[in-house]
């Protein structure tokens, strides 16, 4: 990726001067420098899609909020990662996610190890002001080792991307659109019948919630291992 000469730029994040390589994203630079920007669809080692909108930041001179995970830094940029307005939008965005499906942390396998739950804590979401949508969605336990519970899916597409970009199977994709979007395997068949699935389990490990989990895990027992991902990614890219 970073072949050849890469220029160094300087920018301000929350008032602090920081240096960065010109091909880095705002999110990367912010995290390297200890600034916290919440994310959900972002996952180190996977491509970024800018879908969850939690990493939106204010950039001086831009009348629109910019997606930190896909916006590259520029010389002289002045980035604000936290403001009352951003905090409020983030809280509402997480609130939207909670209202969308049937998230019940208390009886979830990922309770205590859930990215969505942590986000709620981080953005200070204490209650939901909008009505729950209560969609009636199914659970697919046909796979020998894993379970897909649509009730907890936030449509971050990490599973879709890891399966396509790292495992190369492209078993997962999305069907439908809008609020009716669902993750699917193959032709929306039962996961256990999938011809393309290699049962590698990467999708399960990258899933931020309890939407994908291992069979046999009881409530609060599902912890996800993700350290393999940056390693695999760098191997694929042929990096040192």
């Amino acid at each position: 990726m970073n072949r050849g000469q890469v220029r160094i730029v300087t920018l301000k994040i929350d008032g602090k001067d920081v240096g960065a390589r010109e091909n880095e994203t705002i999110l990367e630079v912010a995290r390297e420098n200890g600034f916290d920007i919440p994310t959900l669809c972002h996952m180190e080692g996977l491509s970024d899609i800018g879908a969850c909108r939690l990493c939106l930041v204010e950039v001086k001179g831009s009348n629109k909020l910019l997606t930190a995970c896909v916006t590259t830094v520029q010389e002289g940029m002045e980035v604000t990662t936290h403001s009352p307005r951003l905090d409020s939008y983030r809280r509402m965005t997480v609130e939207m996610l909670f209202s969308e499906r049937n998230h019940v942390c208390a009886v979830c396998v990922s309770n205590g190890h859930c990215d969505l739950q942590n986000l709620a804590v981080d953005v200070g979401l204490t209650h939901i002001t909008v009505p729950y949508l209560y969609p009636k969605v199914s659970i697919d336990a046909s796979h020998e080792r894993f379970v897909l519970d649509h009730n907890r899916c936030v449509l971050c597409t990490r599973c879709v991307r890891v399966c396509d970009e790292i495992e190369g199977a492209h078993t997962w994709d999305l069907m439908g659109r809008g609020v009716k979007t669902r993750v699917i395997t193959d032709l929306a068949e039962a996961w256990g019948d999938s011809e393309s699935c290699t049962s590698c389990g990467k999708c399960v490990q990258v899933c931020p919630t309890g939407a994908l989990f291992e069979k046999g895990k009881s409530v609060a027992e599902m912890t996800k291992r993700r350290t393999f991902l940056p390693y695999l990614t760098s191997m694929r890219n042929g990096d040192e």
């Binding site: 492209h170 078993t171 069907m175 439908g176 699917i184 929306a188």
Partner: protein, 189 residues
């Protein structure tokens, strides 16, 4: 089988001649994966809808992941994964049609035939669909009966037309030869 999979197609699922149209569409685009939507159009035009068999065939032919093919097929409202009824009635729900009474048309069909958007009557005769603006705003509210656009329709006319479809299929099947007058009496307000 082919030596170069890019140049030759996977065998179609059956001897049905319509597969040739589908194959031609793919060949025209060099069996590239980006021709997926064009290919799905060809399938839908030939078979009326996209069934699982055809999706599998298209996926194999274009060497596209099945979930991708399914994802695309369900993203676009133009594609249908279910066979339509013998006759289709498309009600335009564009803005002009909406404010001139399209909801009333849907309501009337729903009450009379117990079908909603995208549904087919139990006898398989009539499918109801909606469209996002046919561009016939000047004739709002508009509806399409078996491919023929009719403007300024009203509830009674739509219900009457659908009843005629249900009761006597051959008698009223819209044909291009039918004069606008005979059509007008049935459909126009």
């Amino acid at each position: 089988m082919a030596t170069n999979p890019r140049q030759s197609a996977v065998d179609p699922p059956s001897d049905d001649k319509r597969w040739r149209i589908v194959q031609a569409a793919m060949r025209r685009n060099g069996f590239r994966r980006d021709a997926l939507i064009e290919t799905l159009h060809a399938v839908q035009e030939s078979f009326g809808y996209l069934d699982e068999e055809s999706l599998r065939y298209v996926a194999r032919s274009l060497r596209a992941p099945m979930s991708h093919v399914y994802g695309v097929s369900t993203f676009y409202h133009f594609f249908s994964l279910k066979p339509a009824g013998e006759h289709t009635c498309v009600v335009c729900t564009g803005t002009a049609c909406y404010i001139k009474g399209a909801p009333g048309l849907l309501d009337a069909v729903g009450k009379e035939f117990h079908i909603g958007d995208g549904e087919t009557t139990e006898d398989g005769k009539v499918s109801l669909l909606t469209a996002r603006c046919l561009g016939s705003c000047g004739l709002a509210p508009a509806a399409v009966f078996d491919g023929q656009v009719a403007g300024k329709v009203n509830r009674e006319a739509v219900v009457e037309r659908l009843h005629a479809w249900q009761n006597g299929p051959a008698a009223v099947k819209a044909s291009p030869e039918s004069s606008p007058e005979s059509e007008g009496s049935a459909v126009y307000a």
